[in-house]
């Protein structure tokens, strides 16, 4: 078992029920049944430790453990997610206002017995009350404190906690019979003091503005999108969260690039070994995680990219792996090359496939001189240029009309411009592509 480090410093606890599950979603549960189920769930803990639970009316303040049914956002910072997924949560004991509060997701179909695709309220309530009393999740099987829903118990009237849970609750509150449960003083050792608060740093005005666009490179690395601009980068997670409004300095995060690096041409995560490849000018670096591997930089000419004109490629404008086929694409000055980087004899080959270069214009509907490209979402290709991005659906190459969207608004948490204007087709500046809203 695992303890949270927090407990109630009393054994006579009060609880209250602030609402009931929606009848439309949990039609089998009457109010009386809900009250009975919750009472039995508390009894599971009071049977194993010298605890007592007395119900209070919700309008009298609610007592120590306040039970509610909520859906989605409910003002505690931990929104529910609809049916399935997360079912409930509870706050550990303490003096905090929310301590002991126990919330159930009202989008679940709660039931007594948990049959027919519903969720058994009793087992989830016993689990959550365990949190409200100070227990964390346990990896032991059997234990009611395992984090995953385990289905209904055989009989709530005869339900008894498993040994793991009994030892945990007795460690905190002692045993009911005479004896010494978990030592003479079941109180936990004092927790270390939290780190002193750090003063808020004002935003550095010299940082490049993320809302202006014009990124040097954009890359999907380990499921996060990195936007490089000058000597800085921003980072967003898959769910669209921007980790900070302020950028981080490239040199403080990516170790091994030359001092004074103030522009990254292109970056991508290599498929075969998950190393990260940086292109700057006529050189490239391979990173293992955030540190450049020894032996780099190496000349870009090693990639064997020869222009149609016969010249050796001296810079890379964009690089990405197309999820559609797993191949690596490098773009330079209006032409692109394709690579198969699957490992052969333990080596990653960096020679372009036959038939390349080809013209960027083959990627219809997007700018031919893009800033960078990534694969994202369900394998779609995202083309970035200035402050706009275009999405080519998975496997698509010839989508004549691809409506661009704002990088600043969609990726970097910038306000939308006050009015919309008709978007130009990047290939035909004089021709407009409109949708219904425009």
């Amino acid at each position: 078992y695992a303890l949270s480090g927090l407990k109630w410093h009393k054994t006579e606890l009060t609880w209250s029920l602030h609402n009931f599950p929606s009848p439309s979603r949990s039609p089998t549960l009457t109010h009386e049944l809900v009250e009975g189920i919750l009472t039995h769930a508390f009894k599971a803990w009071s049977d194993a430790a010298p605890l007592s639970f007395r119900r209070q009316q919700s309008d009298s303040g609610g007592g120590d453990i306040r039970v509610s049914f909520f859906h989605f956002l409910h003002d505690d910072g931990y929104p529910f997610d609809g049916r399935g997924g997360t079912l409930a949560h509870a706050f550990f004991p303490g003096r905090d206002e929310v301590a002991g509060d126990t919330h159930f997701d009202d989008h679940e179909t709660w039931s007594y017995g948990g049959d027919g695709g519903s969720t058994d309220l009793f087992t989830v309530a016993v689990h959550e009350f365990g949190h409200a009393l100070g227990l964390s999740h346990s990896s032991t099987d059997p234990s009611i404190m395992r984090p995953y829903y385990q289905g209904p118990v055989e009989s709530i009237h005869n339900f008894q906690l498993d040994l793991d849970d009994r030892l945990a609750i007795q460690q905190l509150y002692g045993v009911k019979s005479d004896g010494l449960p978990g030592g003479v003083d079941p109180d936990l050792p004092v927790l270390p003091n939290p780190a002193p608060p750090k003063p808020t740093q004002p935003s550095e005005p010299s940082f490049p503005k993320r809302c202006q666009g014009g990124f040097d490179a954009v890359a999907n690395i380990r499921g996060e999108v990195f936007f490089f601009k000058g000597a800085y980068f921003w980072r967003t997670t898959r769910d669209g969260s921007l980790l900070s409004l302020n950028p981080a300095e490239i040199k403080n995060f990516w170790t091994g690039l030359p001092a004074g690096t103030d522009k990254i041409d292109a970056v991508y995560e290599r498929r075969s070994d998950s190393s990260i490849v940086f292109f700057i000018g006529s050189q490239y670096w391979v990173f293992k995680d955030t540190v450049a591997m020894s032996g780099y930089p190496r000349p870009l000419s090693e990639w064997g990219m020869i222009r149609k004109s016969g010249a050796v490629v001296d810079r890379v404008d964009a690089a990405f792996i197309w999820a559609h086929n797993g191949k690596t694409y490098l773009f330079s000055r209006g032409e692109f090359w394709r690579f198969d980087e699957s490992r052969k004899d333990g080596q990653v080959t960096t020679r372009p496939e036959a038939g390349y270069p080809r013209d960027n214009s083959l990627w219809a509907g997007v700018p031919s001189n893009m800033d960078d490209i990534i694969s994202w979402g369900g394998g779609d290709a995202y083309f970035f240029k200035d402050n706009l991005y275009w999405v080519l659906k998975s496997g698509g190459l010839n989508q004549d009309i691809v409506t661009p969207k704002s990088i600043a608004v969609d990726w970097l948490r910038c306000p939308a411009p006050p009015s919309t204007s008709t978007t130009a087709n990047p290939r035909l500046p004089g021709k407009c592509s409109c949708d219904l809203r425009d």
Binding site: Y148, R235, R271, D289, T290, A323, G326
Partner: protein
């Protein structure tokens, strides 16, 4: 490979972070998650969940990740619910 199914991979990393197996991301104080770190986190998650420890996001792992569960993290470190709540309250 992280590139073969980026959505599935990102979802798994998101899940590992939400339930305490990976540290919370912070561009100023934390490193990029290393492949070794993610593999280690997957192994801990698999051990905690009682399934075979493979270190990769296999079908059993995905199945466990999609099982309905409690919102609280399994690994409670400095980012446990109450402390986050207190910090948010202080900010407010």
């Amino acid at each position: 490979s992280t590139s073969s199914n980026p959505e599935q991979y990102s979802s798994a990393v998101d899940w590992l972070g939400r339930y305490g197996y990976l540290p919370p991301p912070d561009p100023r104080t934390s490193k990029l998650q290393t492949m070794e770190g993610i593999e280690r986190a997957i192994r801990v998650m698999q051990r905690f969940g009682g399934i075979q420890e493979t270190g990769v996001i296999d079908s059993e792992t995905l199945k466990l990740m999609s099982t309905p569960r409690c919102s609280l993290p399994d690994i409670v470190g400095s980012e446990d619910m109450l402390k986050r709540r207190r910090r948010r309250r202080r900010k407010r």
